[in-house]
Symmetry: C2
Subunit: 357 residues, 2 copies
DNA sequence: CTGAAAGCGCTTACAG
DNA sequence: CTGAAAGCGCTTACAG
């Protein structure tokens, strides 16, 4: 590609400003429509034509303007993250995963925190999507479990993927985190250690994961011949404070449990707090298991045995689905909850009180 | 505004599809240019014309298409957050603040985590901004302190605001968090309690806040006639692990300090850990002060006395600056670091070893 | 497999 | 204070 000295109208002149599709077309000696075909990976381009165009694109470092594409295409090259989980670590990990998955795609990530209980929830969500004509959105729990939100996406024709602990929609719209399996892991770990009197603090009923984590836990307990008596099951709110309160209640029971499974790390940290206030040592007097493996799990004392949730990996899969890539699930196990053993669990010190239930 | 029954060409027909600037112009009986003036708050519109147009806009629920505006204007209606602070709580709080500040502006937030040490750092940043033609970016520490990044913004003509602990640029490009004042608060609190042998664990030198927090601390200590001996000043990395290590070193000194100020909560939590491993009780044997007041501060035991940083508020101010709104600084004090006293500080138990230095 | 025309919904000069 | 023209950089039908 020779640069003509100062011929303003020379067909091979390389522009100083940001190159456009017209520059590429001119330099490659084709119409802009054909360049457009290459950009959009259309199969209807002869391979030598394609190569020539790609060479010019590479030489000029051309990148199509997403705004112009979007305007003509009717959709912005923007993916939205719609979330209401207040846990910062969850949000950031999810964002990193989404970013991982869209790297090199030309899409950008826009974020939309929301509140399902707000009277303007649906209107805000609709405005967010329609204003910028988003290409698609990823919904995460618990807003991903809200059928009104899913219906809105379908109504306005916005592509969407729901991340949830269990399938709630047709497969192309779902990424399942399978929290139930994590509950099972927690149960097996405590059963293996020899615990028989085990308490459980659930999340709020507004999160489907609350149900799944509990079900998996109870299921696997039953398989080991253990039960989860009603009196040992309390409802928390996935918050530190609720962990303290519910933990205290469980530990003040006449026959207190020798182990507690709290359905997330925040509550497990609260249980640690309650135990300390009651003068109990962990793990000697009480084993505690959390769920998530967020930073707090390794910051509290003793460090929490917990269930790791691969949030970032899940995020990567979710955008992949949205962008229509085939699932890049090289290591399917890496997207499942898994047990992380730390210092908050041990065999029960005292046996013989008799398992209740 | 009467809807004509079925006159396809009736000038007052209301469209079923999303209304455009042409619909508004037609219905209001003006040119689209005049509608554009109203959208862009131009002063050159007669007020009755303006009111008529605004009425039609309200009636149709018209919102200009940001992509079309952006294409014509040469810039997207998108604000970027460029960050490298790995703390999830900082990131989320900052995002919420930015979102607060841009609500109703028609702008959307796109996020760009980065790594100053990556060889592609500047190229990635440039691509991020130029690809979508961002309207502007907010840079947060420590990338906000990188002169290469600031120069890049200036070079490519991208509006930017740098959030940093101290001014590093012309006023229109700066939001200062004034961490030095927080350091002062920490010093006064410990001095008021009667501590004289005080240790300090700094952040890494790559963060300007490390210097500011230390300077403020030392300054206020000196004002009280106290000193911060070299041997009591250790460099940490703003991480939990570095807090454990540096904390242990300070506590194993022949004359150990009766109080430690760690320059962030993560490290302060690490100091708590180190103290526990050495069998020290807090606050009886050792007072600990952190910085940030992130969630971890109230999750560890005992809950940390710390310096609250109003990150969300700072974020709100930063976009306001970027969007050219006058600073909405109703309560200037609310954007300053402030002391939060919890359970990790008390008067020193043992006096009389003599202050060192 | 390739192209000329029209259009996406706005804004920027330029007139008046 | 208001408007007609041209253009931002792409893509969608429609031809060939």
């Amino acid at each position: 590609m020779n640069k003509a000295p100062r011929a303003q109208d020379d067909a091979s002149e390389i522009p100083r400003r940001r190159p456009t599709i017209n520059d590429i077309a001119r330099l490659a000696g084709v119409s802009k429509k054909t360049v457009s075909r290459v950009i959009n990976a259309s199969p209807f381009v002869r391979s030598d034509t394609r190569e020539r165009i790609e060479a010019v694109i590479a030489e000029l470092g051309y990148a199509p303007d997403p705004q112009a594409r979007g305007l003509a295409y009717g959709r912005a090259f923007l993916i939205g993250l719609v979330y209401d989980n207040p846990n910062p670590q969850y949000v950031v990990n999810m964002q990193l995963g989404l970013l991982d998955g869209m790297r090199g795609s030309g899409f950008e990530l826009v974020v939309h925190p929301c509140d399902r209980n707000s009277p303007t929830f649906l209107d805000d969500l609709r405005a967010f999507i329609e204003r910028q004509r988003l290409f698609g959105v990823v919904l995460t729990p618990s807003v991903s479990e809200d059928e009104r939100a899913a219906k809105l996406m379908a109504d306005i024709g916005c592509a969407y993927v729901r991340v949830a602990s269990v399938s709630l929609d047709t497969p192309e719209h779902m990424i399942e985190t399978r929290d139930r399996l994590g509950g099972r892991e927690a149960a097996r770990h405590l059963a293996d250690l020899g615990h028989t009197r085990i308490g459980f603090i659930s999340g709020p009923p507004t999160f489907r994961s609350s149900y799944e984590r509990r079900s998996g836990f109870e299921e696997a307990l039953n398989e080991r011949g253990l039960t989860l008596p009603k009196a040992y099951v309390l409802e928390g709110g996935y918050t530190f404070e609720s962990g303290i309160e519910r933990g205290r209640e469980l530990l003040q029971l006449e026959q207190r449990p020798t182990a507690i499974f709290a359905a997330n790390d925040e509550m497990a940290a609260g249980v640690l707090q309650a135990a300390r206030q009651l003068g109990l040592s962990i793990p000697e007097d009480l084993s505690v298991v959390g769920f998530d493996d967020f930073q707090i799990a390794s910051r509290v004392w003793p460090a929490l045995t917990t269930i790791r949730t691969p949030t970032r990996e899940i995020g990567r899969l979710a955008v992949g689905r949205l962008l229509g890539l085939e699932d890049d699930d090289r290591d399917p196990k890496s997207r499942l909850p898994s047990l992380v053993v730390r210092d908050s669990t041990a065999a029960p010190k005292t046996q013989g009180f008799g398992a209740s239930g």
